[in-house]
Symmetry: D2
Subunit: 146 residues, 4 copies
Amino acid sequence: MTEQVSVTGLVATTPRHLVTQDGLPITSFRLASSQRRFDRKENKWIDGETNWYTVTAFRQLAINASTSVSKGDRVTVLGKLRVRDWDNGERAGTSVEIESDSIGHDLAWGTSAFTRTVLVREADSIEEPAEAEQPVLAGTSGKAGK
Amino acid sequence: MTEQVSVTGLVATTPRHLVTQDGLPITSFRLASSQRRFDRKENKWIDGETNWYTVTAFRQLAINASTSVSKGDRVTVLGKLRVRDWDNGERAGTSVEIESDSIGHDLAWGTSAFTRTVLVREADSIEEPAEAEQPVLAGTSGKAGK
Amino acid sequence: MTEQVSVTGLVATTPRHLVTQDGLPITSFRLASSQRRFDRKENKWIDGETNWYTVTAFRQLAINASTSVSKGDRVTVLGKLRVRDWDNGERAGTSVEIESDSIGHDLAWGTSAFTRTVLVREADSIEEPAEAEQPVLAGTSGKAGK
Amino acid sequence: MTEQVSVTGLVATTPRHLVTQDGLPITSFRLASSQRRFDRKENKWIDGETNWYTVTAFRQLAINASTSVSKGDRVTVLGKLRVRDWDNGERAGTSVEIESDSIGHDLAWGTSAFTRTVLVREADSIEEPAEAEQPVLAGTSGKAGK
């Protein structure tokens, strides 16, 4: 199985961008995800330990991430988890990588101005069938203020 | 169990923003996720059926989403899935909602300029322990172009 | 995108098994997942609302599920989420289906005796590289009782 | 954020069970998840690289897993991902653990006989509201064989 993961965290290194000899754009950075948990004794949320990931992006996602993502940003990453052994001759270890399918700035932490670079595809003209319509925010509209 | 889902798709309605009488900001929109699959006979990717969701956001995420997200944007949403029956007196049905923890513009489809609105918290000063360092892009650096 | 979900819940109907005219085995049942949350005022876990799914399985998984899964069992299901409109001529609505890749009895609720029906495949002879070995339960072995 | 993962794979070590001095039951084993991918040139599925995890279980899940799970079994594990550095004095490295919420034998690979050990809780008497009923296997019943 391929493990899909979604991680929300802090970009901890300046994204590094390169293009392989074959012309493949690659961007990568380190991502820190701190686990918060509710401490019942203290009656408050506290920061727990941190998961560290190497995030990699390819092709168009790599190009856009390299110009949009900076160290210190809060992002959400979706992708495939890869747990790999590595050995560079001097040292060896285990790396935990996410080969990303999507990266986005986390709007829980800020605003973003989006500019599409990918041309409109057929799927973008999608229209929801009328019969499927339903009250958006069903059940809460009655509470709406004026 | 609470089902966590992550969905990448197209914002299909203009986000609707309101504040409840209790002062709670809420933003909601419809999200369309088309399932693409590789057709072996045709030897190409084709669009399959579409999952429709009502995405809801609360508090700071609602405020930022209302100013950042537009109909037609490509976004990634993380949140809790809620399958609920609804009945507005005239019609009844089943709604599929995502109560979002994170929303972000999908950098696979464009670039974004991010402005933080949430003050720096303690966790942002996080530094990776030196001993955990490893070659970023381990195994691929040899292929790097100039 | 195809939304992967994992759901732990209660089998709420007797699984129904059939074989299509094309010879495809299909098993399906309704699955109820109740969302528990910690109530800070009451200082205890309480049951929240319930998500209802129709779980479908095909081929070998369908055959094994039909003989192993009963109404009232606690199971974990992994699969692809499908939100679909349906109309049977008399009534119409929205169904939320999980096309399952895996179904298993949840060992948090009981024990299970497993009998393999699928022949051993090459991947089963997998051996972990010696250099990747590490102390299982690293950091907790010191606390082990006698 | 806490990263939830679901992994389907092969139990690669005999599960190890212990009880801490505080009376906490713990079970752990190594889990191998091989990533299969469709090779378009070869026109067939091939095994890719393998993700290795240390799975830990606590309390009732640990007790049931220790008597139900054997090396060589195919299981599905749901839980929280923990990427941690470890150092046992002689060697150091990174471990990738799943603190499991659920473990179950994968019915795609065999059958299981389930025996509940946890007493019936209130949630088990759950009944689906009649108005939510819908045709199970909607749209496929017409294809059913005899």
